[in-house]
């Protein structure tokens, strides 16, 4: 068990964006969160990463080996606990070069060496070299090491998405949340992304993703969780979900008998 969500609720006034959702994620899984637009997927992500505070319910995270309640934590604390994320609308540091973007991702994993930084001690220099090596490694991992020196804002869309993943991986998370990673990608790029997500799982990182591209979802997910109107309506393996009448109804509407 890696992540445990119990009766999570998020209400915006009368709107129940997330309504009593519970599910678990096991270590090493790839889990997809799907549902029609407005089903509450991104709200759930935002509750998980501390961007918004849930109205009720608990989130337990087992990243460091022991059970840890992370409900209502600040985003930076959650990142430090081992949950990293990417964003639906890309949020890079646009005017820094790609490798600096990833270096900032190493923030939580590096000690602050105030005096080392001022007097340029050997230890500090070694630390900085390590950060650079780790960052370049993350860029190689997602396949854009040759873009290290370019400004993030000058990268093409697909590579910006990869850079965001590289930055999230630099946090060395136990759980990686991907918010619509394939949105706006062509089929070839989507195939690359699928290989990348599998590769990420092989390094021992658990992946939870929101995605609308059903081909990708059905191909790589171990399990799928379906939300509609803030409620969990189904959960299971891709095969089961494809056949589930509730899911079909949520996506295609109710069958009208005349």
């Amino acid at each position: 068990m890696l992540l445990q969500i119990n009766n999570l609720k998020k209400y915006f006034g009368g709107l129940k964006a997330v309504d009593d959702v519970s599910f678990n994620i096991k270590r090493g899984e790839i889990v997809s969160l799907i549902g029609p637009n407005g089903a509450g997927k991104t709200t759930l992500f935002n509750c998980l990463t501390g961007v918004i505070k849930p109205t009720g319910g608990d989130i337990y995270f087992h990243g460091s080996g022991k059970k840890m309640k992370v409900t209502g934590y600040r985003p930076d604390k959650i990142a430090k606990a081992g949950i990293a994320r990417t964003f639906q609308n890309i949020r890079l540091f646009p005017n820094l070069c790609a490798v600096d973007n990833v270096k900032i991702g190493r923030h939580a994993k590096t000690k602050t060496h105030f005096f080392g930084a001022i007097f340029l001690t050997k230890r500090y220099k070694d630390l900085e070299r390590q950060i650079l090596e780790n960052s370049m490694h993350a860029l190689k991992f997602v396949g854009i090491p040759h873009k290290a020196a370019q400004l993030a804002s000058n990268l093409p869309y697909g590579e910006q998405k990869l850079l965001e993943i590289a930055r999230a991986l630099a946090v060395e998370p136990a759980l990686l949340l991907l918010d619509e990673p394939a949105a706006g990608m062509n089929p070839q790029e989507t195939n690359q992304l699928m290989r990348l997500i599998n590769k990420i799982r092989e390094t021992g990182v658990t992946v939870l993703l929101i995605e609308h591209d059903m081909r990708l979802v059905m191909k790589i997910s171990d399990r799928i969780i379906v939300l509609n109107y803030g409620r969990k309506i189904a959960q299971g393996e891709p095969g089961e979900i494809k056949e589930s009448p509730e899911v079909i109804q949520a996506y295609l509407g109710e069958v009208q008998h005349v």
Binding site: D76, N95, I104, H107, A108, I118, Y124, S153
Partner: protein, 379 residues
């Protein structure tokens, strides 16, 4: 061979020459030499006489202050209109400690020593930076700017009204000059080397901090706060750190100022000073060290040149119009800034980031980045 080429490149030779001139500047013997130019004859001594040296010290003081302010708008992307408050706190810390404790018995007299006061002023500035920053740095944009503006006004009001401590509007006079052992800093030459030394230390300090984890966190906050939080950066903490460092550099500048002028009064730390320093860094290029230094140089020098030139201009136009031009210095600053904003909004020596913001997708930046990138990293 490789080594020789590296050290004897044109750039390094120029740099060494520049450093030599800067170091020898107050002692270059120019007294008695004249240069003729189209019937006019200029006395070369004007380049480093006592008055010019005084202006150069002032320029370097403003360079130091601009470096300190630059951390807030340039690195973390917040607008700070209250920088002069920290400058004033540093100046009064230094002035009051000197006046009250320099003549005291031994252990206390240490507190009146300039070299003890410098770190104390820095600490005091940082303390007030944290006191102001911790509750207000949750505010964003204009709201934060207004709070900082209010802070600097508050500092002046307190200095004006608590006259038991600060001597109120009359100011503190008779502040002793700094000294090393028996040597007392009395000449402008001595202060020139003192401020040069302090400025170099501050530049090295800020450069190294900006290259470290702390600097990267600042840039991340400037670029995108939500993304910065998502990678584990405690935004409030790093903003407060930035504020404390900026404030302590302002206070160090103030501590020097008090011991250099040997007199402080509240109207030296008016809001106008904050705006002036902000103009310097905008003129030079927000966030770029070279730009900030250039901006401070140009604005301070321009102020002095205008002070000398405007009375003549007033005489010249008297037959046509009887106007007072001496107060028009500030108008000239305004015009300079308007022209800058129109033709080079990113400043004179901009950071690549700012060029990118002002002229999106310039290929030149891209090339510049790739060329210099690996050189930079190799060190």
């Amino acid at each position: 061979m490789e080594l020789k080429r590296k050290f004897l490149s044109n750039k390094n030779i120029l740099l060494a020459l520049f450093a030599l001139i800067v170091l020898a500047y107050p002692y270059i013997p120019l007294e008695g030499y004249y240069v003729s130019l189209g019937g006019w004859s200029f006395h070369m001594g004007i380049i480093n006489n006592n008055y010019t040296l005084h202006v150069v010290v002032l320029i370097m003081l403003y360079m130091l202050l601009s470096m300190g302010l630059n951390i807030i708008p340039g690195y973390t992307g917040l607008l700070d209109l209250g920088f002069v408050g920290f400058y004033g706190i540093g100046a009064y810390t230094s002035a009051l400690l000197t006046v009250n404790l320099a003549a005291a018995a031994f252990p206390l007299s240490l507190l009146g020593n300039f070299w003890v006061i410098l770190p104390l002023a820095a600490l005091n500035g940082a303390l007030f930076g944290v006191l102001l920053g911790a509750p207000t740095l949750r505010l964003t944009g204009d709201y934060f700017a207004i709070v900082t503006f209010g802070f600097s006004e508050l500092v002046i009001l307190i200095v004006l009204n608590e006259s038991w401590l600060t001597n109120g509007p009359i100011g503190v006079r008779g502040i002793a000059a700094p000294a090393i052992g028996d040597y007392v800093f009395t000449s402008e030459r001595a202060f020139y080397y003192l401020i040069l030394f302090m400025l170099i230390l501050v530049i090295i300090f800020i450069k190294r901090i900006a290259n470290s984890k702390i600097g990267r966190a600042w840039f991340a906050i400037r670029e995108n706060e939500i993304a910065a939080e998502a990678v584990g950066i405690n935004i409030i903490k790093y903003k407060v750190v930035a504020f404390a460092i900026s404030a302590s550099i302002g206070a160090v500048g103030g501590a020097f100022f008090a011991r250099w002028m040997r007199f402080v009064s509240p109207d030296m730390f008016k809001f106008w000073e904050s705006v002036l320093i902000l103009c310097m860094i905008i003129l030079g290029g927000l966030g770029s060290i070279k730009g900030v230094l250039a901006g401070a140089f140009i604005m301070t020098a321009l102020a002095e040149i205008l002070r000398a030139v405007l009375p003549y201009a007033e005489e010249l136009i008297r037959p046509v119009a009887n106007v007072e031009l001496v107060g028009a210095r500030y108008a000239v600053f305004g015009i300079v800034l308007i022209i800058m904003m129109r033709f080079k909004p990113e400043g004179l020596f901009p950071e690549t980031r700012v060029i990118a913001e002002m002229h999106p997708s310039t290929d030149a930046i891209l090339d510049a980045q790739t060329d210099t990138f690996w050189d930079k990293r190799r060190t």
